[in-house]
């Protein structure tokens, strides 16, 4: 897939999360604070981000804060691709 800009990355992420949680989300919403998403789902997000956007998340980047919101994930992808 060719998600080339932050908007497209965000849209792809929202689609995945909405499909998996059956809820709608905004890009700024804290996924974990709501309780609707378990912490173990976070690892699914990491794998999805890596496989979908061709990046590798490791070391200090591997924190929940980078996956807390769609915006944070899109920023991480942009940074890792830069």
């Amino acid at each position: 897939m060719t998600a080339t800009d932050a908007g497209a990355v965000g849209k792809t992420l929202l689609g995945f999360i909405e499909d998996r949680t059956k809820l709608s989300w905004t890009k700024e919403q804290d996924l974990f604070a709501s309780g609707a998403v378990t912490s173990l789902f976070a690892m699914e997000l990491v794998v999805f981000v890596e496989e979908t956007f061709g990046v590798s998340v490791a070391g200090p980047d591997l924190t929940l804060d980078n996956f807390r919101t769609v915006r944070a994930m899109a920023d991480l992808v942009a940074r890792l691709r830069a």
Partner: protein, 294 residues
């Protein structure tokens, strides 16, 4: 490497590279311990290093491991004799093979023969009484039940089962083992299912049966527990996290030992396992995990 070179590092032998064995290996490696993971199946052995790395990553993501800790060395082998390298004063063996008394007995017998005398051996059995497994080991005084929950790096408390033959030294050693892993013990008495699974397994079985009867969809059934009763997870989500194959094995163990029909694995559980829907680990159970394998 001499003992001096190892810097007093602890060592853990883990028997079986299934869901729990891999999780236990990740927990110990993540705490800087040297781990010998013994697995007889070639495929499971080949997959083990990657799965341990995956669990380490999850643990790191969730902040469940000390950030500054250099991971310990992982050796994956089919050779039980490697357990002989464990210093009883700074190590232990945790058995985590499939929940079948004959299998566990065979592995515990071989492991206790391979390990040095006075090495703490714990069994991560879900339901088989420690007193029953004690017959298999060379010295029953050194056998303790450590019922770690899945995933072991995330759940801090461990149900520790003291068998009728378990010695005081072994209890001291098990507290040291858990402390070295950043875990703590909740000590209970012996008997089929201990405390956790004597209660939980009949609940899961009943919950699955109710789904089959059409009384509630899995989501609604679990929601009664999470939202009405305030539990962290519902019984079906818990079953998916444990692994439905393990749930069925555990129910069989309980049914055989108690004769209580509440433990006879119900149709919907057997169907799920027969269809390969094993819960979170296969991506699909009573709930869907998007085909993503944990």
């Amino acid at each position: 490497m001499s003992a001096a070179d190892s810097g007093g590092k602890r060592m853990l032998g883990v028997l079986g590279a299934g869901t729990m064995g891999v999780g236990l290996a990740a927990l110990a490696v993540g705490r800087g311990q040297r781990v010998v993971l013994v697995e007889s199946d070639d495929g499971q052995r080949a997959a083990a290093p990657g799965r341990v790395r995956g669990q380490l990553r999850t643990a790191q993501l969730l902040g469940a491991l000390p950030r500054e800790q250099e991971p310990g060395e992982l050796l994956v082998t089919a050779d039980l004799d490697e357990l002989g390298a464990i210093d009883p004063a700074a190590g232990a063996v945790v058995e985590s093979v499939t929940e079948r008394a004959d299998l566990k007995g065979d592995v515990l017998a071989a492991a206790s023969a391979a390990a040095k005398d006075g090495t703490l051996i714990t069994t991560n059995t879900s339901a088989i009484p420690v007193g029953e497994l004690a017959a298999a080991v060379t010295d029953p005084a050194w056998l303790v039940g450590t019922h770690f929950m899945n995933p072991p790096y995330l759940v801090e408390a461990v149900e520790v089962v003291r068998g009728p033959d378990t010695g005081e030294e072994a209890m001291t050693a098990v507290h040291a083992l858990l402390a070295s892993l950043g875990r703590r013990a909740v000590v209970v008495g012996d008997g089929p299912g201990f405390v956790s699974n004597r209660i939980l397994m009949r609940m899961i079985n009943d919950a699955a049966r109710m789904v089959g009867e059409g009384r509630a969809e899995p989501a609604a059934l679990d929601e009664v527990f999470t939202d009405c009763l305030g539990h962290r997870m519902g019984p079906l989500a818990t079953a998916d996290l444990i692994g439905l194959d393990n749930v069925v094995d555990t129910l069989v163990v309980l049914h055989e030992r108690t004769g209580d029909d509440a433990y006879r694995p119900c149709g919907p559980l057997l169907t799920a396992v027969g269809d390969g829907r094993l819960g979170r680990k296969s991506g699909e159970g009573f709930h869907s995990y998007g085909g993503v394998r944990a």
